[in-house]
């Protein structure tokens, strides 16, 4: 795989990557997005009808297009584990409270998982390939694999790929009860949400992140996960990594990351990205955005002063893991 990431548009709890303060760390038990001023990106009439998932998705995609100097992409691929929760919950609430009576279509229409990718296509007039992946903690990774497959068949085209998940009161509560997100008893991890979109192509351009390999796997214990990461490192002959980015997040999987930092990545500068964006299924898209941003604006904001070429990212969401190998070219 050689997927060149030409630009990034990020909306996150740490702000947007078109501001000087990005990433700004928030101290909170729940990390909601700091939303940008949408007025230059989305017409107000349309904005009013958009749920958070749709508006952060649309705005992040516009930011990435703008940065790449592209009006519309040739193809679109979006990853979202949870889809449009706000509209889903709205319709579910009305349906159950009103005993299936007197329902209106708007929330249902906007509840489908492909709403964001469809809306981007609609607003940009993009008639090309359009997919939405909904595979839990691998949803965003699969858009990258999709992009690689697509560009193999349509070389030279520009594809918009992105990850988006929104947090709602209902989903936060359900995930707290399930033991994932931090609750009143301080069990669990800091919940997050966000949208990060990218323009990806198969042609090398200076000053881009080239994604060389992605491995997605599930593992139910640290040893199994470590084995996968080691095999990934071998497969890519990773010896002299300049920086590793990890999804360490203060849960029972910290041991897995600690093990990596003392073995495979000992003495390698590290960025732990979930302190900025919180935990969510498509948080890997935030991490990729952070790397694209750091390449343009410097790694020094993470206390790294050496020049960076080879980067490995290791992430997990529950028992869904991914390893990424990237070169900054």
């Amino acid at each position: 795989m050689e997927l060149y990431i030409h630009s990034a548009g990020i909306i996150s709890a740490a702000g947007s990557n078109n501001t000087d303060t990005f990433p700004a760390r928030q101290e909170a038990d729940v990390l909601y997005c700091t939303e940008p001023d949408y007025k230059d990106m989305i017409p107000p009439m349309q904005l009013r009808r958009m749920s958070k998932a749709v508006r952060i998705g649309i705005a992040a995609s516009k930011m990435s297009l703008q940065q790449a100097g592209i009006e519309k992409p040739d193809a679109i691929s979006v990853g979202t584990a949870m889809g449009c929760l706000q509209d889903t919950e709205f319709f579910l609430t009305k349906m159950t409270e009103q005993d299936e009576q007197m329902l209106t279509p708007t929330a249902f229409i906007q509840s489908t998982h492909n709403t964001v990718s469809g809306q981007i296509a609609l607003l940009a007039g993009c008639y090309g390939h359009n997919l939405t992946y909904v595979h839990r903690g691998h949803s965003f990774e699969h858009t990258m694999i999709n992009a690689a497959l697509y560009l193999q068949e349509q070389p030279g085209e520009q594809m918009l790929v992105g990850g988006i998940d929104e947090l709602t009161a209902g989903s936060l509560k359900a995930m707290q009860l399930a033991g994932l997100y931090k609750d009143a008893n301080n069990n669990g991890v800091v919940a997050g949400e966000g949208a990060a979109f990218f323009i990806a192509g198969d042609t090398a351009v200076a000053n881009t992140v080239c994604v060389k390999d992605i491995d997605c796997f599930t593992a139910h214990d640290a040893q199994e996960a470590l084995q996968h990461v080691r095999r990934f490192a071998e497969r890519n002959a990773i010896a002299d990594v300049d920086c590793w980015v990890n999804g360490m997040h203060g849960d029972e999987r910290d041991g897995f990351y600690n093990e990596l930092s003392t073995s495979l990545f000992s003495n390698v500068p590290v960025i732990s990205f979930k302190q900025y964006c919180g935990e969510y299924a498509t948080a890997a898209s935030f991490a990729l955005g952070l790397i694209v941003d750091a390449m343009k604006n410097g790694f020094s904001k993470y206390g790294i002063d050496k020049s960076i070429r080879k980067v490995v990212m290791v992430n997990h969401y529950k028992h869904y893991y991914s390893c990424w190998y990237m070169e900054l070219v």
Partner: protein, 398 residues
């Protein structure tokens, strides 16, 4: 495509049968599965007929050998995957196998049962009702049960979802990333979808009449359909014979409206045209089109015009099987891929049930007479959905 993805086996469950063979028997008998809901509990059960799978969750769980507390979509998926996969599972040791599934509302059938209670007292809701809410969770239940631990994904592009999972699987076999793929999708009926489609006023109160001038809307259905796809190497290794190949595919977007198709079917035309191009075929090479044909005024008109634009005055046999199975949403592309495979295998053209009156704005007449043993070389299958998603697949004799 570097190497073809061979269709080796199929798995199917719909309102007209619990496996491929029984669905085929119903198709040949022109037997529709549309009727009054027995398992779906809804206020609207007397108002809107549906094409429900004729089995309770307990019966489905027993058939698949899984737990009864799975979402119904996962149960349907497991039944169909078992049919496609199990006869070959033991012959495919060491092969790189991927599982590509699709659905639209995940475990919604369980979520909606407790949602009112969840809003009032979330702590009292059994976590089992919410645990599998995500679309991906449904796929993962099935993947774990069958031991698929390689590439596993879930696609959700509304009514075109499982056509896209077949497309991605064919690509990954095509470029040598995988040897074997189980690809398709599943969706069960839910109150959420029934009420949602009702707000759009596109549900038919009678059994639907696709491509009829007096059509009134669609009947929702449920089911699961999967293809077992293999590279030539994998197929030879297990001594299998191909039913056909996935010769072409294309995905396009109509970019017209979130829930409606453009009047001239721009996305539909792009999907069909590009799929033909991918297959290296001319329109005249297609022997049968399995239309999306939902029975709504909008779809059939847009799709009909797009078909006419591509095939001009030489439209081949074309029919919609939704009058048999209802619209199975995220499963439709998978279900109809199996129907397309059966068409290739046995030369079947499915008659469009209940067709009476020629559409005014579409010149061609859908197939209304059953044919068996016809010369079917290439089948085009359409799946179009909300969000402007349009996908077409081409299946050819190997």
């Amino acid at each position: 495509m570097a190497q073809p993805a061979y269709i080796v086996n199929t798995g199917l469950i719909t309102a007209i049968g619990n496996d491929t063979e029984s669905c085929k028997a119903s198709l040949l008998a022109e037997r529709s599965g549309v009727g009054k809901a027995e398992h779906l509990q809804t206020y609207w059960k007397d108002e809107f007929p549906v094409a429900e799978v004729k089995a309770s969750n307990e019966e489905l769980a027993m058939k698949a050998g899984v737990a009864t507390n799975w979402p119904r979509t996962a149960l349907l998926s497991a039944v169909a995957v078992a049919e496609a996969w199990l006869p070959y599972a033991h012959k495919l040791q060491g092969m790189r196998t991927g599982f590509f599934s699709a659905n639209t509302v995940g475990g919604m059938d369980l979520t909606e049962q407790v949602y009112k209670q969840f809003k009032q007292a979330p702590e009292t809701v059994p976590m089992d009702n919410l645990r599998h809410h995500e679309c991906g969770a449904v796929t993962q239940l099935v993947a774990q049960y069958f031991g698929f631990n390689g590439f596993v994904t879930t696609i959700s592009t509304a009514c075109s979802s499982s056509a896209n999972s077949i497309m991605m699987a064919a690509q990954m076999i095509g470029n040598g990333m995988l040897d074997v793929a189980i690809a398709g999708g599943a969706d069960s009926l839910s109150k959420f979808t029934l009420n949602g489609f009702n707000t759009l006023m596109i549900l038919d109160k009678q059994p639907c009449q696709p491509f009829d001038n007096n059509r009134r809307g669609l009947n929702l259905g449920e089911g699961a359909g999967y293809l077992l796809l293999m590279s030539e190497r994998a197929m030879k290794a297990c001594g299998a014979k191909p039913i056909g190949i996935v010769s072409g595919y294309a995905n396009a977007n109509d970019a017209y409206h979130q829930t409606a198709s453009s009047p001239d079917g721009r996305g539909n035309k792009l999907a069909m045209g590009n799929a033909l191009k991918k297959a290296g075929l001319q329109a005249a090479d297609i022997s049968y089109i399995n239309l999306h044909g939902t029975g709504t005024a909008n779809n059939d008109s847009s799709e009909g015009k797009a078909v006419a634009a591509i095939f001009e005055d030489k439209v081949p046999f074309a029919s919609s099987t939704k009058a048999y199975t209802g619209h199975t949403l995220g499963a439709a592309g998978g279900v109809e891929a199996v129907f397309s495979a059966l068409s290739l295998q046995h030369g079947i053209v499915y008659p469009t049930l209940r067709w009476e009156t020629q559409m005014e704005d579409v010149a061609f007449k859908p197939a209304t007479t059953l044919q068996v043993g016809a010369d079917i070389q290439h089948v085009l299958s359409n799946s179009f959905g909300f969000g402007g998603n349009c996908s077409s697949l081409v299946f050819s004799k190997a």
